[in-house]
Amino acid sequence: MADYTIKVRRYQPESGEAAYWEEFNVELDPSLSVLDGLLQAKDRDDGSLAVRCSCRAAICGSCGMKINGQSGLGCQTQIGEAQEQANKMAAATGKSAAEASSPVGVEADHSGLHTGHAHTATTTAAVPIVIEPMGNMPVIKDLVTDMESTHWTKIRRVTPWLLPFGEPPEREYIVEPESMVDITQSMACIQCGACVSSCLSMEVDPLFIGPAALAKAYRFVGDPRDAETSERLADLAQDPHGIYDCTHCFSCVDACPKGVAPMDQIMRLRRKAGENGIDDPNSGHSHEMAFVKIIEKKGTLDESMLLQESFAPGVLGKLMPTKRAIKEMIGSLPTAVRGVKAGKMRSLRKLIPGAHHKLPDGAQDEVKAIYKHAEEHNEEFNLYIKGEEGDEEAAVEERLEPASAPGAEEASNG
């Protein structure tokens, strides 16, 4: 048993008051969950504390929330670990997660922090564990968010049911065993919304279809029983808020409690869209290919080549750019200028095509070796196939030549 202080961002819609912070002291074994802590506070101190929960075992997906600013499930986060994390954050920033993460929190701290239920007898100077409702969603009450308007609407957007080829066979569909294992990773999604809560693209573009719905879409695109693969891909690639809206930030991969890795599913959708030759108005596929090509050639990103390679790739594109390419490139210029102004490009020389240096010595060869390795090991990152992340890393380490590891590091630093 240990004492913890949980600091909950509360909102009681019928009170007419704004959101506020409230601290609860709870006493439980460190191996129990943050949700257990909340339920203890609810049972003992304040039954009006609203939190959706049901299974307590990370399978029903009810208790999505932010814990110390990180989106996840309350039931899957051990309270002892959450405390350590809060301590680390406080040590690193000199602030608690509440102060660091939420402006409302700072105001509430100064104005009217309710400490009525915090039994101050146990005066440990512990940093509170900060609990907030999920992000990118309206709050209904306390930790309960409106998932219908933000999450389920988008799930329905991707036509989330199988569209089979005509009448089903008499027996089961005969399919590759691997294909079922492959889509079981996205089938493992419990629709908790943690990825949506953490999605940085959605903060900028609330219309982004988002990680959960796109992972759901992959479940059908990757399903050999579905007849509408290319239609689905075209739909998701051509939507301006579709698969190319993802910025590769990995937040959803971190947040997902079930190893669905929504971003990986989005990348698979992109790859399949490219393979299917789907022309998208975002030029998303050619932009991605431009990145791949430039890094293979130069080791680091040559911004001067990026626009041209994205919209008018290759020598042919350079000599005879299409009307659309010209339009796209001119349209992108303000972004480039803003980048320069904001100091994102350290040297104007970098804007001159071809001036960007290659990696020194044999480092570029190491990059090429990594490409070769990746092509030869074209395997999916799928927990149903590979197991734990740790195992995966260990396996990769075993496979890589010891000498190539330092080279790879240099390449990424360069």
Binding site: K42, G47, S48, C60, S62, M147, P168, E172, G259, G387
Partner: protein
């Protein structure tokens, strides 16, 4: 007043399957659930779903295993229907998009499960329930024009018309607290079991016996409420489930001396004997001092190849890591028997019809009875789908031949008064609802568990009756309208106490040991006196006991060994 031909209460597998089956008949359907449908507890079914689909297997073999597993208390007509229709239903689910495991030929592959004489369990890794339920929810979204979803509506009372027929339900919109009387020609209860009466339990917090209690309160008979399954492999203290699939894949049970103790109790089936048998064996080891100091025995999954664990037992890797701090691929995990499943429930026939015209029940809320004294692993998902389908079809057929009956508004007024009464209780007027729930759970887990006797059950019953009195004055903190979980918790406590009282009465009444009911004071099965169902009907003075025959078609009771 919103009205639907068929109204389904509860949106787990049984409810969703019933709604889809009813909609296929061309009637209007409403499905009401106190949580979002995909939060329902069918999610938790990990291991798989049984069907004699393999050409080498027969439905008779599946049926016999189920009859034997039930300790001959299951009704064989119902079991035959379930076993016969299972293959077609699995194929139907596959066609809808369930990502079942395939064998090397790309056909449906199976795994072994407890109490079964063939490997006939079809599965999706160890998320079978979740995978099927999410696919059914996809279908609900697809057929949204025929099926209206009421997500997060909490039902509190059934409406009965002047002819004694069920004609609707009072339900509360959780989001804003508004209460409505929904009209219907047929009402299907698919609200799940009552596991929250026990603490700890593998059951979700929502499994509070709502439908069982609602049916009981309007006069429907409950059956075999003493039959409560303790699952052999749950995490001590927390109650989390470790799938039987782990043993199906070859995992061993060991006591603290490293002995594979199942050799003594079930020399043929070993770890894959029926759940009641394995749970009793474990509890015996623990009681006789051969368990670990934390009151557990060990489940050794390390004998299963690592690749296979990642592919087939992924969820258990996560449960071990997140909830027990154990890497199951490297070390054994400590487990014990824990409350898991309500075999009893609302008495129905094979079409899901209860004693009240217009009222149906399916899934764990119902007692058809296909599970009798003990449910076989991977038969619960099957039960939900088969009898969900039957209930949905029959409820639709009834709706098509029945005129609308207008429910009296009094039921809504009564429910509003009940809510006002709870809201009106001052802090300190009685105990906290949460305290009563805790005492109930601990009492039931110590007195009405794997081993039972008259003194213990009597003590539990007395406690339950005292708690029923205390619940009348128990207070809550939240008096608001929006998402008032506190209020719903108080109403759920009432459901739980009704179910608990019936489980105690049944356990006290059945003076024999059969299936999950093991009476240390009556340690033998007694077919002469007790090969019969115990029915309970609500009266002013508590549950009134009556009996009904067990239907036997082709399998006469025999001694049961594994």
């Amino acid at each position: 007043m919103p009205s639907h031909d068929v109204l389904v209460i509860g949106a787990g597998l049984a409810g969703q399957r019933a709604a889809l089956a009813a909609a296929e008949q061309g009637v209007s359907v409403g499905i009401v659930s106190k949580v979002h449908p995909v939060r329902s507890h069918s999610n938790a079914a990990q291991g798989g779903i049984n069907a004699a689909l393999n050409p080498d297997d027969t439905w008779e073999s599946h049926a016999f295993d189920t009859v034997k597993g039930s300790d001959y208390l299951g009704d064989q007509d119902a079991i035959e229907i379930m076993a016969r229709e299972a293959p077609e239903e699995i194929l139907h689910m596959e066609h809808l998009g369930v990502t079942f495991h395939r064998n090397a030929e790309g056909k449906l592959g199976t795994r072994a499960f407890g109490g079964a004489s063939a490997a006939r369990t079809y599965y999706v890794a160890d998320i079978t329930g979740q995978a099927i339920m999410h696919v059914l929810y996809e279908q609900l979204m697809k057929y949204s024009e025929q099926i209206t979803r009421y997500e997060e509506w909490f039902s509190s009372s059934l409406a009965i018309d002047e002819n004694g027929e069920c004609c609707g339900v009072v339900t509360r919109n959780v989001a804003d607290g508004s209460m409505e009387l929904f009209g219907a020609k047929s009402v299907i209860l698919a609200t799940g079991g009552s596991g929250q009466i026990w603490k700890p339990t593998t059951n979700a917090l929502i499994c509070t016996g709502d439908g069982i209690a609602m049916a009981y309160r309007v006069g429907a008979k409950l059956m075999d409420m003493e039959m409560i399954q303790y699952h052999p492999t749950t995490l001590a203290g927390k109650g989390f489930l470790i799938t039987e699939g782990a043993r199906g894949e070859g995992a061993l049970l060991l006591n603290k001396n490293g002995e594979r103790f199942m050799e003594k109790y079930a020399p043929n089936k070993m770890e894959l004997a029926s759940r009641d048998v394995v749970s009793r064996a474990e509890q015996t080891e623990i009681n006789e001092g051969r368990g670990f100091p934390d009151g557990t025995v060990a489940l050794d999954i390390t004998v299963v190849p690592k690749k296979r664990i990642h592919e087939a037992l992924r969820e258990i890797v996560l449960v071990g890591r997140d909830f027990a701090g154990v890497d199951i691929t490297r070390e054994p995990i400590h487990i014990k028997p824990g409350n898991h499943y309500t075999m009893g429930g609302v008495k129905t026939d094979v079409e899901g019809r209860t004693d009240i015209p217009g009222l149906y029940a399916a899934g764990e809320a119902a007692c058809v009875s296909v599970h009798g004294g003990n449910r076989l692993g991977a038969n619960s998902l099957l039960d939900t789908l088969i009898f969900g389908k039957h209930s949905g079809r029959d409820a639709a057929a009834r709706a098509l031949r029945t005129d609308w009956s207008k429910p009296s508004g009094k039921v809504l007024e009564d429910e509003q008064a009940m809510v006002d009464d709870i809201n009106g209780r001052e802090k300190g007027s009685g105990r906290r609802v949460s305290e009563i729930k805790l005492e109930l759970g601990q009492t039931m887990d110590s007195k009405v568990a794997v081993f039972r006797d008259e003194a213990g059950i009597t003590e539990a019953l007395e406690t339950v009756r005292r708690l029923k009195e205390e619940a009348k004055t128990a207070y809550i903190d939240d008096h608001g309208s929006v998402f008032n979980q506190d209020l719903m918790g108080a109403i759920e406590l009432g459901y739980m106490l009704d179910c608990a009282e019936c489980s105690c009465i049944g356990a006290l009444e059945r003076k024999e040991s059969r299936g999950a009911q093991y009476r240390t004071d009556y340690p033998e099965r007694n077919d002469e006196e007790w090969l019969k169902h115990i029915n309970l009907e609500k009266t002013e003075d508590g549950p009134e006991i009556s009996y009904s025959e067990v239907t036997i078609t082709q399998w006469q009771p025999e001694a049961r060994t594994y």
